[in-house]
């Protein structure tokens, strides 16, 4: 009886190892950008502008989704106060089926922000502006889970993550579907850790 149990246990272990390895695709260096934040990333704050206020609750949930994965990425608070904070979230109408977008900026010695190209920029980022679709037909009509996915995805871009080049099931894939997860997956976590450290 003991032998049978041991054999069953071994088979179960082997099956779970095979299943785990098939669903896990390792992070690729192209899955994150080379730029870094100018300010500390362990005490980031987010400002929500009135145009995105309809998503405030989901923004708070999405922001804290990224905490406790890498000790170097920590969002402290989400606020509507008029402070100049590193991450801004705005609302705007997007054409087509675009639901969110993240733009990054460097800052010069006079305090002027300059838009940088995320994929090629290698310097320090001083601000990320996230735009969420507030057109009548777009993101507004998605479920709360889908809205939270889009916001978490855009915040992922603010942490230098890109759309995965591999076929991994990940939140950082575009859309919801066979590849586009609604929540942070192991691939997203490994990309974040590879970029910022454990």
């Amino acid at each position: 009886m003991k032998r049978i149990l041991k054999a069953l246990l071994a088979v179960a272990l082997m099956v779970s190892v095979v299943l785990l390895s098939s669903s896990f695709v390792a992070a690729h260096p192209l899955d994150y950008n080379r730029w870094t934040w100018k300010s500390s990333t362990t005490s980031l704050r987010i400002r929500v502008f009135p145009t995105a206020s309809l998503y405030h609750q989901r923004i708070s949930r999405a922001a804290f989704n990224w905490n406790y994965i890498s000790s170097e990425i920590q969002i402290l608070s989400v606020t509507t106060s008029s402070l100049d904070l590193p991450i801004e979230i705005h609302g705007k109408s997007f054409s087509g089926t675009k639901m969110g977008e993240c733009l990054i900026y460097s800052v010069d010695s006079k305090g002027n922000y300059k838009l940088e190209i995320s994929h090629t920029y290698t310097g320090q980022v001083a601000k990320a502006k996230i735009y969420l679709d507030n057109d009548d037909q777009g993101l507004v009509n998605c479920s709360y889970a889908e809205q939270e996915k889009v916001i978490t995805h855009e915040l992922g871009h603010a942490f230098a993550l890109t759309h995965p080049v591999c076929g991994a099931y990940a939140l950082m894939q575009q859309g919801f579907g066979p590849l586009g997860a609604l929540t942070i997956q192991s691939h997203d976590k490994s990309c974040l850790k590879m970029k910022w450290g454990n």
Binding site: K92, S95, M99, E154, V165
Partner: protein, 191 residues
């Protein structure tokens, strides 16, 4: 001879950007993907048409800093789904924006070329949308199939055509080639 040299120098120094290809940059964005299979693409699209892209595209900025979309007019040549008729002119949004010599695009989409023919899968904007009365290309690149002869003459070797030949951006997208074959088989069987 001197005059010739001066003229050449002027051309070289004054017009260095002439004929320069724009740089393509992908926006960091997230999208709603409407079709996960070719049959989905047919189902979710309000219009499936063969159309010619008319000259006079309009670049529309939609933030004060960067980004936007392009308004494009199409002349319908043939209708496969929907209630439009040949020669009707449609207005669509294309999800790219040209800022000087940079084209900011979304996903794998590349601009449709003026005066060129395509099969388009289009979705209609709702009555309350800012773009009411217009259409958008369903799922970006996957809703636009170029009918230029360099592709149609090489259908047997479609898999070896480059992304730029197919007018899609640099991301690997083998599925696009599969869908392209199905589009041609279904809507242009004589090619």
């Amino acid at each position: 001879m001197k005059k010739c040299m001066v003229l050449i120098c002027l051309v070289v120094f004054l017009f260095p950007g002439c004929g320069k290809e724009p740089i393509i940059r992908q926006n960091d964005s997230d999208l709603l993907i409407l079709a996960h299979s070719f049959s989905d693409l047919i189902d979710v699209s309000d219009l499936i048409i063969k159309a010619k892209v008319l000259p006079g595209k309009k670049n529309v900025p939609d933030t004060e800093e960067v980004g936007g979309h392009t308004i494009t007019k199409l002349q319908v040549l043939e209708t496969f789904k929907g209630d439009v008729v040949p020669d009707e002119i449609l207005t669509i949004t294309e999800e790219y924006y040209q800022d000087k010599d940079v084209i900011w695009t979304v996903g794998n989409y590349l601009p449709a070329n003026e005066n060129q023919e395509y099969i388009f899968f289009l979705t209609k904007y709702g009555a309350n949308s800012n773009w009411s009365g217009m259409y958008f290309v369903t799922d970006l690149a996957r809703g636009k199939y170029s009918l230029k002869s360099s592709i149609l003459d090489n259908l047997d070797t479609l898999d070896s055509l480059s992304n730029s030949d197919l007018e899609i951006w640099i991301e690997p997208d083998d599925e696009y080639r599969e869908w392209y074959k199905q589009v041609i088989e279904k809507y242009c069987p004589n090619n």
